[in-house]
Every structure is written in structure tokens, then in C-alpha cells.
Amino acid sequence: MSVPELEARLRRLRLAEPEPDLGGRVLETALSMRRLGRQLRLAWGAAAAAALLAAGTCWMEPVRSQPPIRMPEDLASLAEIDPALARRAQVLAMALPREDAWDTLHTRTAAMKTLEGEIP
């Protein structure tokens, strides 16, 4: 096969798009929240960590009731308390998958339990 022939055949291909790796993304989110929680405990103490947990709860809650997930309305109130924290919570929320599969709810519930165990 010549290089031009190879290029022509490769042009029929494309780089893969991200696949919905539901469990992995939720786990990554949980791990991120855990790391963030640790940083918060160091930086701002237990009150800020509690605010983070509240943020996590509020953006998890719509998933349980009516997928797909939407940005939490309470993020605005969190932003008034701590804008930087609210922005980070928004990023983490975006990392969550939006598919409305029942099995993801179980995964998310497990992720929440992880968070609750990690952040006092």
C-alpha cells in the first residue's frame, strides 16, 4: 500500500468520541469531590466542607427524581457564599453523565454514600 492510498483509507476514519463510561465518570467525580473535600477541610474548615456536601446533594437530587440532570438552582446561592467553590461544583456536575438509565442511579447513590463517608 502506498502512502497516498493509506491516507485515502485513513480519511474514511475518525478519532473516537468519548463513550458514556457511566460508572467511571461518577467514580471520578466522587474522587474529585473527595480531593476537593480534603482541600476544603484544610483551607476553610468544616463549614465549607458542609457547604460542598450540600452542593453535592442538591445537584444529585434532580437526577433521582427526573433525569436528565440539570444544573442545580441552589448553585446560585452557593455562589453567593463561595464563588470559587460554586464554579468547581459546576465543573464536577458537568462531568456527570446525562443518560437517564436506572442503573446509573444506583451508581450515583453509591457515589453519594462515598461522599458522605469522606466528608464529615
Binding site: L6, L15, M94
Partner: protein
């Protein structure tokens, strides 16, 4: 641009770029997520957000690549690097599988140049700017990379 809009606009393209460097879907997702977390943490928003994100993804991907030597193992286990543009063609599907392996075996700079030029449609000048090398160097990396891919694919057929 707010974070969600940036993510929707640039996320898939950044993911494909990270995938071209890392040859691992899981690592590519993490590199993109890390870049957006860094953006959220930035005290002042970058002036050229898209360019900033591309650089953040590239730097993060190269660091991740340096830490991990599991690249080929991940390639074998993870999602393919390349897929047919039109699904359902068995010839293209077979080519995608073989070409993914060949692309994964290239040195990272060559893989980056091949992926950006052939699959993302960037010129060598644009690749040079993105990867901070002269245009000729970007073109050379592409030529070496495509030639190596041809050798690997010829050996297998």
C-alpha cells in the same frame, strides 16, 4: 463564555486531541476534566480561552503520559482510537482496528501530528502553532508517522 458552554463547544474536540496523545479513552477523559477544573480554579479568566484549554489539555496529557507507561496495554484494553466515519462498513471497521493499533505504536509527537492533520483537518502551520514547533517540524513528524503506520499495516497484511 461560561464553563458549561465551553465544555459543550470544546469538550469533544479536546477529548479527541487528548486521545491522540494518550491513546487511552480513560486517560483522555481525565485530561480534559482536569483542564476544565483548572479553568474553573483560575483566578482570572484566560484571554483566549480555547487556546488556553488546548494548551492545558496538551500539558496535562503529556504529564499523564510521562507518569504512565501503560499506554499500549490501555490501548489494547480500552476503546479504539479510530472508528469508521460511516458505521456499518466492515472493511472500514477492520481498517479502524488495525490503524488504531498502528497509530498507538507511533511516538507521541508523530501520533499527535498524524491525528491532528489527518483526522482533525489542521494544517501543518496550525499544528506547529499548537505544539510549539516550526511548521516544517510538524510536517516531518507527520511524514515519519504516516510512513511508520504504512510499514506496520503492510507487515500485518
Amino acid at each position: 463564555m461560561d464553563l458549561e458552554a465551553s465544555f459543550r463547544t470544546l469538550g469533544p474536540r479536546l477529548y479527541r486531541y487528548a486521545l491522540a496523545i494518550l491513546a487511552s479513552s480513560a486517560d483522555a477523559e481525565e485530561a480534559v476534566q482536569d483542564a476544565f477544573v483548572s479553568l474553573a480554579e483560575a483566578r482570572t479568566p484566560p484571554r483566549e480561552e480555547a487556546r488556553w484549554l488546548v494548551r492545558a489539555v496538551r500539558n496535562g496529557a503529556y504529564k499523564r503520559l510521562g507518569r504512565s507507561r501503560r499506554r499500549l496495554e490501555l490501548l489494547r484494553q480500552g476503546a479504539p482510537l479510530l472508528v469508521p466515519r460511516e458505521s456499518g462498513d466492515p472493511v472500514d471497521a477492520d481498517m479502524a482496528r488495525k490503524a488504531s493499533e498502528a497509530l498507538g505504536k507511533l511516538p507521541v509527537e508523530q501520533r499527535e501530528a498524524v491525528a491532528l492533520h489527518l483526522f482533525e483537518g489542521l494544517s501543518f502551520r496550525e499544528i506547529g502553532e499548537m505544539t510549539e514547533v516550526p511548521e516544517d517540524t510538524a510536517a516531518s513528524r507527520y511524514r515519519y508517522g504516516i510512513e511508520k503506520m504504512r510499514e506496520v499495516l503492510d507487515e500485518r497484511s
